[in-house]
């Protein structure tokens, strides 16, 4: 059933993913069968989606509505293809450059204006992806949780 939903996804319009527009958040909510709650912060708005599978996704939107960061935590790895949108291929390319004696237990990718940090452990996966050039002034990486 979930598999069918994923296949259909490829025919849907662009979702409110990293670098996209918050106005399509309702599509995410429907696709992920999630609850949605929005919190206004001084420099941005956090749209928090909670799925039936226990995944919490936070999308950080600038005052213009552009999503400059997403973060997640939950019992399974998230669908990064969905969350990263057009930046997913940049992530895949950056991920290929892993080296001998590299980090084990975290995953860190900086590629083509994209930063992705993945951490956690089995049954508890956390991470964030952001576009450093689009983060509003004064907002720190540590705020993107």
């Amino acid at each position: 059933m979930v598999f069918v939903a994923w296949v259909l996804l490829s025919n849907l319009p662009a979702l409110a993913v990293l670098g996209g527009d918050a106005s399509t958040l309702r599509d995410d909510q429907v696709h992920m069968n999630a609850s949605l709650r929005s919190t206004e912060m001084p420099a941005y708005t956090i749209h928090e989606l909670r799925t039936p599978a226990g995944m919490v996704v936070r999308e950080f939107a600038s005052s213009s509505g552009r999503i400059f960061a997403v973060s997640w935590n939950g019992p399974s790895p998230p669908d990064l293809r969905q969350l990263l949108g057009s930046h997913f291929e940049d992530f895949r390319k950056g991920a290929e450059a892993q080296r001998d004696r590299g980090p084990r237990g975290v995953f860190f990718v900086q590629h083509n204006g994209l930063t992705v940090q993945i951490g956690g452990h089995m049954r508890s996966y956390v991470g964030r992806a952001y576009l450093p050039d689009q983060v509003p002034p004064g907002v720190r990486a540590d705020d993107l949780r």
Binding site: F3, F91, G105, M122
Partner: protein, 406 residues
Amino acid sequence: MKFSLPLRFGISSIALVLLGLQLASCGGGSSPSNNMIPPATSGNNVQPVVVNSGPANNYANGIFTSVTVCVPSTSNCQTISDVLVDTGSYGLRLLSSAGGGALTLSLPQQTSTGNPVGECAGFVSGFTWGPIKTADITMSGEHAGNVPIQVVDPTFSTVPELCQAGGVPENDTLQTLGANGILGVGPFVQDCGNQCTLTGISNPNWYYSCAGSSCQVIPMPLAQQVQNPVPLFATDNNGVIVELPAVANPVSTLSGSLVFGIGTQSNNTLGGAAIFPIDSNGNFSTSYKGQTYPAFVDSGSNAYFFLDSNTTGIPTCPSNAGFYCPASTANLSVTTSSGSVSESINFSIADADTLFSKSTNAVFNMLGGPNSGTFDWGLPFFFGRNVYTAIESKSTPGGVGPYWAY
């Protein structure tokens, strides 16, 4: 439900607590612990472990052991060396010879309505894919019978699209896995747990029934999921202790012990260790400069992974961007806590590019890197500190698991 994201605008100060005197006392990366006793070396519950560069010679701070698997209820067995000891996962996974691993023993396949069952298991550094099989497992004098394990095998059926949507690489070869397998001896019994027993959109898509090259998600009963073998032992089954000596400088190899049971024998008493109960997700807390972060203890992580450069003031490395490269050794002080129990931890981070400049070294007590708003107490935390992992629902002299103690 509490929702708060603290705002901390402005430029952070250089966030290093300079505690230069801390280093001398325990030989390096971490502060002395109140339970520093030499690793146990004898007993029917003591399994030797070694920290080195692993079977592919590409690991930093990899902790490995040997595991014997047998076709259930037979003497048809194989001992697999260089299996990663991982307190951050649950269950045994062995790399097949098809993936370049050591496992050649043919084990019985688990099936669902006649089709082989496969699994896409989520690890942070990459997923493992392959069939679920059943084995008897022996380590030191301990035995667990009929245990579901994963055989990591890139040639099994076809990796489902859902498995690849996580974006992390497929770690199905000796080069990518860096080990002949992973022994998950963390605080939980099954690798996935209740979520994987559900149907529909609540199922996280780990277990599949595979007809030929076509795999469909299936709900998986708890008892058929990949199992941590320790709680299945007849004795010494309430947890493990990872015991490694302190190291002062990078070395090529470090020997220690994986001890089964907590308070079940004279060689696995809690001693003066502080007990930190963990939540249903397997986390406790660590605070740094007044901010509290989720945290966990993970022998399968190969460094102290915490925070980010902006928050810590420690730059990442020019050539190894996943690690920190401070201009001079950075000394940090944080507090680990759970409920009313807390303990201050002092640790040090050195320049990873410099640490890696000598190619024969594989044990690094001051290796650190950035993370995602989380403290991951990886293998350097274990050096010179006996770390206890108590398994969920199991009784110990320190209370019922799950908890960490050190």
